[in-house]
Symmetry: C2
Subunit: 324 residues, 2 copies
């Protein structure tokens, strides 16, 4: 193992140890520094595992994203997946490959952002791997979570006639990305892009109250993630364009984010779920909005102003770069 | 999500589904195709998690390694980590990033190699992530395993005066690598490099019989992995050069692999453990050899012919490329 890489492991271990003083009992019996991490979960729990690759110039750009934001966003992707199952995150694992031109300062700031979010949700960084990258930074984030046995909320449980809901507001992250791309000044709500919030408490509350028939997080964009629920559940969907919650600004409360961003923009990390039950308009402080319903008829349709219907295609998730 | 990437997920899902008809009860309740995989482990088990990054031109070369071998070796690294804890692998997760110039055939052959090994040990491929790589193939392999509560074998349990053992023979993989590097014809035992064997049954047997005080797998090379045990356990070590098991050939049974390869060569995936108890000379069909002992005096020493002692430095784990 080259010295630089051993240093990287030691730095992660030191920072992870300093950052994580888990409140309550930690499930991590043995963490960084053994062949595998050892975790002890409470009895009666199912284990959740999610992995997300974040790749420089695909998922982030060094010019656009401060290292803290890259670290925060890497972990958000995994936490949001656990939220979408109604689960509780228990431990995170980071595989990080950095090229030779990356400074120690960059890595330290990356870890700082990641560990700030980990501390917020009491998730210890329990292991991972480091490697030398030939070109560009690559981070694979694994989050292990738990959920009471047989209660994980899948994508496949929606029935025709269920109502469709989203948490929070959609499109902010894509709007920030568009401003970055056009070199425009960023708005006040740019934190929605740089430090998105995984809806863990909302997901857990919904699961505990047996409300969702199917749930997914909006990471690829509403159109694509709704398409996933439709595919896995074997249903279609009708969405009301006017009902999609978007940030509003000014006295007239005009939507400040284009409908296209709310429909197809990724990285919002809100929850999208279906239910046939009564749903409160606010859960754990987060607004919950009905945007349409599932249908027996396959395919997705968007109902625009004056009741006109148009086909809704899954067009979410843009790479920063076109394929080389 | 671009079409090529969706195709990749579908291809993995199809192949994983076809390849994995788990014998006995699978722990995977929901696998590829949801936000997170859902696993149900038997009660009374601790959870093991290991992640290993395999990066083109760092851990493998397209010119040297057939895609099947790359897939096999990726999974071996994780299985071997689970073996070193005395555990049973339960599920694997693959995060795969491929650049635009990689053919579908390459990916299919990679998955074929990976899934052949997964089937051998009855490990379902339960999820993962795919992404577009900017340059070069990157695969992060996560293996989740289990071990009866409180029995995981750590690196930190060695006491001064314990005997040090290795399974199998060391140095073959590095010898093959040296031949690849020198464009020499490969020997008959090149499978040791292309399709290494994780010592899962040996690790489980040793753990079940409470034999190892500390254990690690030899992935970075004997000198480096022994160093890890010494560091984590707070002991030193003395190794007898002549005792290190190396492949032998010809009538005179001359070692066919240089001592340097056996000392510092990585990718052997044998087990290295310490014990104060009687140890059989063969476990699950694999030879087990005593090569030295741990000491109160810190540092590692190599006892060469005629009782001469020299300092042993951790020099294992060579990248294929020097730092760019």
């Amino acid at each position: 193992m080259p010295k630089s890489e051993r240093n990287l492991i030691q730095r992660i271990r030191r920072q992870a140890g300093a950052g994580a003083s888990p409140r309550g009992r930690s499930p991590v019996i043995a963490g960084i520094g053994d062949d595998a991490a050892v975790l002890r979960l409470a009895p009666g729990q199912d284990v959740l595992v999610t992995t997300d690759f974040s790749i420089e110039n695909v998922h982030f750009k060094r010019d656009w994203h401060p290292p803290e934001a890259v670290g925060w966003r890497c972990l958000t992707r995994g936490l949001s997946d656990i939220a979408a199952m109604g689960g509780q995150p228990r431990a995170a694992f980071l595989s990080l490959a950095v090229p030779g031109d990356i400074s120690q300062v960059w890595v330290d700031r990356f870890l700082k952002g990641l560990l700030a979010l980990a501390a917020k949700f009491n998730v210890p960084l329990a292991g991972g791997d480091t490697a030398q990258a030939v070109d560009g930074i690559q981070a694979d984030m694994v989050v292990l979570g738990s959920v009471p046995k047989r209660t994980a909320v899948l994508r496949s449980g929606a029935r025709p006639g269920d109502h469709i809901y989203v948490t929070g507001q959609l499109g902010s992250s894509a709007a920030v990305l568009a401003r970055l791309r056009a070199s425009l000044p960023l708005g006040a709500d740019s934190a929605r892009h740089f430090r998105p919030q995984a809806r863990l408490l909302v997901g857990q509350w919904l699961r505990a109250h047996k409300i969702p028939s199917a749930m997914i997080d909006i990471s690829d964009g509403l159109s694509t993630d709704l398409h996933h629920i439709c595919e896995e559940s074997g249903v279609g969907a009708e969405i009301e364009a006017d009902a999609i919650p978007r940030p509003r600004s000014g006295r007239a409360k005009v939507a400040s984010v284009a409908l296209e961003f709310a429909l197809h923009g990724g990285d919002d990390y809100e929850l999208l779920f279906t239910s046939s039950k009564p749903v409160p308009s606010r859960v754990e402080g987060v607004p919950v909005t009905r945007i349409g319903q599932t249908t027996r008829k396959k395919g997705m349709r968007l109902i625009v102003a004056r009741g006109q219907e148009q086909r809704l295609e899954p067009k979410g998730w843009q790479h920063f770069q076109k394929k080389s």
